[in-house]
Amino acid sequence: MKKLIALVLTVAMLLTLTAAMAEGDRVTITYSYWGTPEESASTQAVLDQYNASQDKVTVELMCIPNEQYTTKLNSMATAGELPDCGIMNENGLLAFANAGLLADVSTMYDNSDSKPLECLTFKKDGETPVAYSGCNEILMLYYNKDMFDKAGVAYPSATADGAYTWEEFIEVAKKLTLDKNGKTPNDADFDANSIVQYGCVIDNWTWQLEVWAQSNGGAWFSPDGKECLINSPEAIESLQKVADLTLKEHVMPLYLGLADEGIVRSVASGTVAMATGGAWNMGTCMSGSGINFGIGVLPYMKEKVTACTSGPQVVFAQSKHQREAMDFIAWYTKEENSWGLIDSGIWMPLLEKYYTDSTAMDTWLKSENFPIKDYDMAKAVLVDYTKDYAKSACWYYTPNTSDFIDLLRSVLSPVWSGDSTAEEAINANYEALKASIEDF
């Protein structure tokens, strides 16, 4: 009897041991994500798929409620307990990198068949890649086709070659602005106080204004993110040009840029003929708006340019398994894993092959659910324009942009309402604006 028990125990022990050894081959890494466990169920499903697809790495999901995310990461950083990799907010990213908390990810996509677009690389001091975005977004022009047809005006161009100059843009906007008697700003008896349809909206939700400084041949920051150039004549003039659409030309409704809703309150609500917006708006509000809309490239002042951005996926420097974490992120950010967001038009693909390889491109733009049915239009704006004219938004290379953008929003209010000029407002507040990107 005793022998039997001993035998059973030995066998049991051996079994446990082998099981433990099999487990021991696998490296466990953690991936942090914002959201409650219920909200993150789909992310968990993707992780399960990864864990089942290979036998080297087990990825565990760490769910942190959205509103506590950065605070929690900060305290984990202090305690040296950061996860191996995770999603982050683009605003706090470079401060994290400057504190030495992010791994250099230049080799992240080495084992992958395609790399992310260059403009989607977050660079410490404008040089070292410390993160890639999880997808892509660009700024573009949305327009209401019915309003253009009614006014007998040709649609805005989908190719950069035919992009409106700023003056052409104003001319077209004037033809599409109507007061309650149907008069346009070109008519002598036009009543600017009773406009029922506006020609255009340049979204002045603060960060989206950077692209106009670049369009006018300027910038907000130097390429290493250390110098604030918003007081350059080009940058100031670009802000004034946007403000003048409302103040002088009467083709744009008065917005103070205080909320992120430019497109919702303009083209999507059927009150404005054309408006700038992010590519995500195709899926988030335009496709369900019932508006017969089209997309085109942004007008330009001196140089054709658009902004691109999206939230980063990082590997933390404290991780002991950086290679595994990088391989996982490279796999995780593959478009197939977020296809629902991509084919509904909310996300644009991250990897270069979708912008260069026609097979990959077609799976995206010819997808049945894709909101833009006109293939040539979609390809011209979303592929060619992105590939040739997209520039990284400021947080890809400048730390502490959130303080800068908040302050700029407050500084620009009187510019939009016409109480002061862009030059007065920026020069009066330049020192404070400059100080806001320096950490205190």
Partner: protein, 303 residues
Amino acid sequence: MKPVHSINRMHSAETRTAWLCLIPSVIGLVCLTYIPLIAVIGLSFFNWKGITAPQFVGIANYIRLFTVDPYFIDSIKVTVYYAALSVIGSLIFSLIVAMLLNRKVPARGFFRAIFYLPYVLPAMAVYLGWSWLYDNTHGLLNYVFNQMGAGKILFLADEKLAVPSLSLIAVWLSGNLIVIFLAGLQNVPRVYHEAAEIDGANGFQRFWNVTLPCMTPIIFYNLLMALITNMQVVTPALALTSGGPGNATCFMSYLMYRYAFISNKLGYACAISTIFFLLIGIFTLLLFATSRSWIFYEGDDAK
């Protein structure tokens, strides 16, 4: 001697039970209120961004707040301005509505529900709805004004009008005050009204000399609660204005939130909290100090 002794023992037993019963709430109060409060005051003397260890900087945070900070002084002004407008507005509005609802109007229950309803609606939905009413170009209010030929009113886009416009929403949201006022009104003794009526007092005189004095304890309570709630205002700035136009709606709680959770300057945000705490404390003390002179308690001989 014996009875006294037993009374003493009974007292001490009661005291013990009282203390035992108080323990849970005292633990809660200490752990969730006092310790965090002291921690916040302590942290306000540190430069702490969350990522690195806190670094003692003395009163540097406070000096920066009052000298260099581009928002802080404005934020104190607008918070006090908003609180004053909202508190006075909502007290007057809810007292009037409560008195109307206290009369025998038809469908009284329905109207009571209607006036209470805004208070239970989700804040985000309320502010979004109002933002469409207030919209500069396509808003309902501006449409109406335009039809009347009155021109445009930039409710949220004008630095001078932004705070009053938001206060109006706060007044509209004051359903809870109405309920408390209603309860108070029902406790005003009928005999006083009858006596005043026999003496020939008209409606206004009865309101001024009977209803109002009897309501002062309730008014004081509502005043205090409304003051504290409205000083802590943050949702409209988050939902509608992002603190603008300019700094016109950059309320202290909103500024604190932005520094603490968006730019991760936790020590600095704690300094704002500390000043905010002192400010609310001062206002509350002022209210209590003046309360003796204007609150009428029934059966109180001191008056």
